[in-house]
Subunit: 384 residues, 2 copies
């Protein structure tokens, strides 16, 4: 059966990237590798919209976030973690496990934090050394306004502005330098369109300065070592070479499209996905929907496991279910990375059919028609 | 130019494994992935010669070693690190950076530690909670007798027996259960014949018990979390999926040959390499040569950079130079992983030619003849 992934990571890997990984392995302490790494490093700068170094670590996105905690702070220091879902929860648990004091800035799942709410938290914690924000909370399909939140942090505090852009970079607008961010982490298996196994971390000059005073125990995730090696396009430990060469191909694809065009494409895909979902008669879970992933409430009476099995076994479509408290209550359609307009028609068509098969009364074709309408309005196809 | 890697990691990746990585990416929270992971986990047990779980971590080998330190010990506890080269040095630096007290059991580079010497160290440090041994010290091409050293540790101490088998597993004999090891770490880009990016960690029941009392700060590298997920063929964080599928193919290849046959093959390859090197008139650096990598003294008057450039640019052969104090003094030929007898003929032929081109007087063909002779003695080819 033809399988199609609509999951928020791993996301589909373009065929030319897959074939790049099938090329003979190269050694990482050679001029050949450094030429690849130099190109990857330059293109990561464009992706993050920064002139600062972007470090490549061999680990998942969670490892990239851990690297920022252990490299920038000292035991007992206070950080604020904005927590509106499963990943927000992780950025509360992780620094606590490492010996930091964490302010759990909890937001109801499916909601974003407003700049006013964050201002109040910053006023209550003037001693906070860092604030962690997740741009796209994948578990709820919710977008946080990083630009606005970064502005209030810079206005009210000297805390470092730390952004988890793991499931947003390349899809959601993000301008590391212009927005005054200090740390930004992403993972390889998301907007970057390569398999999991790499994390990428951008650091501001301010963050680099802060590293000097950090006394957290660290070795593998020491960003000072990674920065020192970065200047010669090297890494302190053996990198995941085949994933770095994959990143080289994928970043070239991404930059051929252009970062701003990629943001626009994701906005259009998300709008079309939402229109299709609404036309099928379903409702959105999030009050602030992400452009990476659309979280949809399962209609009353629909069993998630049966619906998901139909989607997978009958139509070859892999979507994501709900996690934690929303397990069995929502499902999530990703449109992050290597997706185009016809992919949205495909996934909404499959959702329509699996709903029908599950006994949910829908108007067959209404969803795909709405998707087409949205793309027509966006200016492509249909003579608009 | 046809390129051939003779480096101790990354090692060559078989074509069928490269092509496996070019297959469509699968999602890690699916039955399809768990079926792959279940097979990988079972086959890792055979490779490590253990009935205990072998954990898969997304990081380099260094990350795997760090995971053992942060999961098994508590701040201020004492560990002994046997240090006979660049990797031994790292296992002194790493736990120190993490807040452990480290006994630097230094051995002269190129030498191994005897069981008697280790016994004296154990007697001097009865409070040591763990002993780290590197089975193959890649930087010097030196083999340490893990079985004998483990025996004296178990006899004189209740310290955990921790083995860095990063550049040895699959090549050097290692029997995790029978030899009473507590921790064994390897990396993917070595004997396993896949690209870098995964570490594999076996843990004894004793080590698992010891984890309960460990108070080191940890999150990403928490082996308790990895063990809990392992029972359902899962991982706490997103794994490097394409490397796990590569491991699936590579382990099947390795086990088709058989682990003991692989050990025997590596012994033969190493013996032939040493015979070839000697016949060319070169000498070995190590007093206890590894079967993974042969470290060779550069002859007097031979410039390493020029010799290496000739090997690479004229013959497409990538070998490894010396590191640290032996930089420019030795070179290293790997025969770890996907190598056969004809590969040894190839590399010695190239070494002969690059030596000649560099103005070193040799008897052309003496090296390859000695390699052939060694294989004949080993019982294959030549009618032996």
């Amino acid at each position: 059966m033809k399988r199609r992934l609509f999951t928020p990571g791993p996301t589909p890997v373009p065929e030319q990237v897959l074939l790049r990984m099938a090329e003979p392995i190269i050694h990482h302490r050679t001029a050949e590798y450094r030429a690849v790494a130099a190109r990857v490093n330059a293109n990561l700068g464009t992706l993050f919209q920064t002139k600062r170094p972007v470090l490549t670590l061999t680990c998942s996105g969670t490892g990239g976030v851990e690297a920022s905690f252990v490299s920038l702070f000292s035991p007992g220091e206070k950080v604020i973690a904005v927590n509106g879902g499963k990943f927000g929860e992780r950025w509360v648990q992780l620094p606590r496990a490492l010996g930091l004091e964490v302010v759990d800035a909890a937001v109801e799942w499916g909601n974003a934090l407003s700049p006013e709410e964050l201002t109040a938290i910053l006023r209550a914690h003037p001693d906070a050394k860092g604030v962690y924000i997740t741009q796209c909370e994948t578990s709820t399909g919710t977008s946080f306004d990083v630009r606005a939140l970064a502005t209030v942090i810079r206005k009210h505090s000297d805390a470092l502005v730390c952004v988890d852009a793991i499931s947003s970079l390349g899809a959601h607008e993000l301008r590391f330098d212009d927005w005054g961010l200090d740390v930004c982490v992403t993972g390889s298996q998301k907007g970057l369109m390569i398999p999991p196994g790499l994390a990428f971390v951008a650091l501001s000059t301010r963050a680099e300065e802060r590293m000097k005073g950090s006394t957290m125990p660290r070795f593998y995730f020491d960003l000072r070592k990674a920065l020192d090696a970065h200047s010669s396009h090297d890494t302190p430990w053996t990198p995941a070479v085949s994933l770095v060469t994959a990143a080289d191909s994928a970043l070239q694809l991404l930059l051929q499209e252009g970062v701003e065009n990629s943001w626009a494409r994701h906005r259009t895909l998300a709008a079309a996905c939402r229109a299709g979902v609404a036309a099928v008669g379903l409702t959105l879970y999030s009050q602030s929907p992400s452009v990476s992933v659309t979280a949809v409430n399962l209609p009353g009476g629909l069993d998630w496991k049966g619906f998901n099995r139909r989607l997978g076994e009958e139509y070859g479509i892999v979507v994501a279910g709900g996690q934690g408290p929303v397990s069995g209550k929502i499902f999530r359609i990703a449109h992050l990375g290597y997706y185009d307009e016809l992919d949205m028609v495909t996934v909404i068509a499959a959702v329509e059919r699996a709903l029908s098969d599950s006994g949910i009364r829908i108007d067959p074709g209404a969803g795909v028609r709405a998707v087409q309408g949205e793309f027509t309005r966006a200016g492509k196809g249909g003579g608009a």
